[in-house]
């Protein structure tokens, strides 16, 4: 057995995981991709959340399509350094539901890894659905021989989220996937009127979890309504440009991405 053909031009593979839904896996994937592009790397994003693909909307590519060439599927392009594959690109309408049982999802993921022709990439980021089920088993099996660098675990600070995330960490250990570090998302909200910080989803949960399981704690990201706004208004101003100058990138995410890169280099 060897690594899937589609990955032969890819240097590093990173997964974004979380046992819990709605903690921001897709927005962390988006931010990681943008930050790596800003650092001058060539990046690919593969979205394997089949029943709820959010990546196309994140990059404002809802109308993009994947094309078939003689070599396989050609990813959609955000710009010359950023290519994206998601099931969302293959669906006819944004309202159509994908009601698939496990075997079909497994087959789809296998096809994503076999048939996509990625350009030369420094980093391939894989965004996953919540849970530890078919999609996760499938991707772990497919990547078995591809030496993925590891995964970034995303959590929110509340206990409910932490207990699901512990299950995901347990999963990583079982399939021998290295954990590059843990990110605490939605950590506090800074009121734009009075600058008081409220911990809507309590606080420090991720940090405590990381030290308890001796994982690397990459950092916390506050709730920033500006990011949602950047995503929603990217038709008027490029997402990459507005992200580059945002406080979110400069203050919160830059140290996180440096932490990830440092971990990979070791």
């Amino acid at each position: 057995m060897s690594a899937p053909d589609s990955l032969k031009n890819v240097k590093h593979v990173i997964l974004i995981l979380s046992g819990k839904g709605g903690v921001g896996k897709s927005s962390i994937t988006t931010q990681t991709a943008l930050s790596l592009v800003l650092k001058g790397y060539k990046v690919g994003v593969l979205d394997i959340d089949l029943t709820g693909p959010s990546i196309p909307r994140m990059f404002g590519l809802e109308d993009a399509k994947i094309h078939q060439s003689t070599n396989g599927w050609v990813p959609a392009r955000y710009n010359k350094d950023l290519s994206i594959v998601s099931l969302g690109f293959l669906l006819g309408s944004k309202d159509a539901s994908v009601v698939w049982r496990g075997p079909k999802k497994t087959a789809m993921i296998r096809q994503f890894l076999k048939d996509v022709t990625w350009p030369d990439l420094d980093y391939l980021l894989i965004d996953t659905p919540p849970g530890t089920s078919d999609e996760h088993i499938a991707i772990a099996e497919e990547l078995q021989f591809a030496n993925p660098e590891g995964c970034i675990i995303v959590t929110t600070p509340q206990q409910i989220s932490i207990s699901d995330v512990k299950k995901e960490i347990n999963f990583c250990n079982k399939v021998n996937l290295r954990i590059l570090g843990l990110v605490e998302n939605m950590s506090g909200f800074i009121c734009p009127h009075c600058a008081e910080c409220t911990n809507i989803f309590s606080s420090e949960g991720g940090k405590n979890l990381a030290s308890q399981l001796s994982l690397k704690y990459l950092g916390a990201i506050p709730i920033d309504p500006l990011f949602v706004e950047m995503i929603e208004t990217q038709k008027d101003s490029s997402l990459l440009d507005s992200y580059e100058n945002s406080r979110l990138y400069l203050e919160s995410f830059k140290p996180i991405i440096d932490g990830v890169l440092e971990e990979i280099r070791e």
Partner: protein, 321 residues
């Protein structure tokens, strides 16, 4: 573990272009299946004739008056939180018997939210007994069957279906006025199984939970499409985490911005009832973490009022019909 695993069907090759789907009735029989390496797997996997277990399930569920599914395509919008608050609210009425079933097998949250994490399920010859949170509120979750809280349930779809069937077939709910079914995000195995198995005994409908931002609404639209395909009535849409009132300056702020109009606009667009918006209140999350009832602790908060309005609207829609 009490659960008997079913064999995992796994496909050996990618599906052909016009694949009817391994779960469809025509799997392995369609024209496009000819020559596909999976053909024998698909055609052998389909049970012949009606599932004999459906009769047992109908029998078990025949004493339950109202069955409500809590759905959302998106994760983390508050399905479990809302299910738990809904069941506390219903159980506050002493005349009602309420049951909650947690189908989120990979991430069960209800045991923690209802404060009964350390309980375990007992089985007797009449079936599995649900765990009772209060006298008239019973609960069933895969969380009770795990050896420890941190262990991951790494199951493929087929195995999850087996457990869901067992939940429906073997749990001895007794006579219930309400059964609330909490589901995982997405539109996949769990959703297909629960709707298939419960169809004959009658589902009152689904309550759709969403948050205001478009990224969530996108997935919720898919879930609504699923309900239509599966012929499930939609009782209404609830918008959770709507606005946030800063405790410092009392200004309201939209954290998850409804750039496309939020849940209300979606409900209007699709002609569905909109049951109300519940504001974001950090105390809701905190009481869920501690397994306490938010409604009992903060009965006067604006969030409680909003939640009770939603519950009333829901009861009207279910009991009125």
């Amino acid at each position: 573990m009490i659960v008997v695993p079913k064999p995992n069907p796994s496909l050996t090759a990618p599906e052909p272009e016009h694949c009817p789907g391994p779960e469809s009735e025509n799997a392995g029989k369609e024209e496009s299946c000819a020559g596909c390496a999976n053909q024998s797997i698909c055609s052998s996997q389909i049970p012949k004739g009606p599932d004999p277990d459906v009769d047992f399930i109908n029998d078990r569920l025949s004493n339950i008056t109202h069955k409500i599914l809590v759905l959302s395509g998106k994760g983390g919008v508050g399905k479990s939180t809302f299910s738990s608050i809904l069941s506390w609210a219903l159980a506050a009425d002493e005349d009602l018997e309420v049951g909650v079933m947690d189908l989120d097998i990979c991430g069960p949250s209800l045991p923690k939210m209802l404060g009964s994490e350390l309980e375990s399920v007992h089985s007797s010859n009449s079936g599995w007994s649900p765990v009772y949170v209060t006298e008239n509120l019973g609960m069933m979750s895969v969380g009770f069957m795990l050896p420890d809280q941190d262990s991951a349930v790494i199951w493929r779809g087929a195995k999850k279906n087996g457990l869901i069937k067992q939940f429906l077939k073997d749990v001895n709910w007794g006579k219930l006025d309400y059964l609330i079914v909490d589901t995982p995000p997405g539109t996949s195995d769990e959703h297909l199984s629960v709707t298939t198995y419960m169809k004959e005994s009658g589902i009152d409908g689904a309550l759709i939970v969403t948050t205001p931002q478009e990224v969530a609404l996108l997935d919720v639209r898919k879930e609504i499409d699923f309900c239509k395909k599966a012929n499930i009535k939609i009782l209404g849409i609830v918008e959770n985490m709507s606005g946030f009132i800063c405790p410092g300056c009392k200004n309201e702020f939209q954290i998850f911005k409804p750039t496309t109009g939020g849940g209300k606009a979606l409900a209007d667009e699709l002609g569905l009832p909109f049951l109300g918006s519940v504001p974001l209140d950090p105390r809701i999350g905190k009481s869920a973490d501690n397994g306490e009832s938010f409604l009992d602790l903060y009965p006067d908060s604006p969030a409680s009022t909003a939640i009770l309005d939603v519950v009333d609207a829901l009861r009207d829609s279910v009991e009125g019909s």
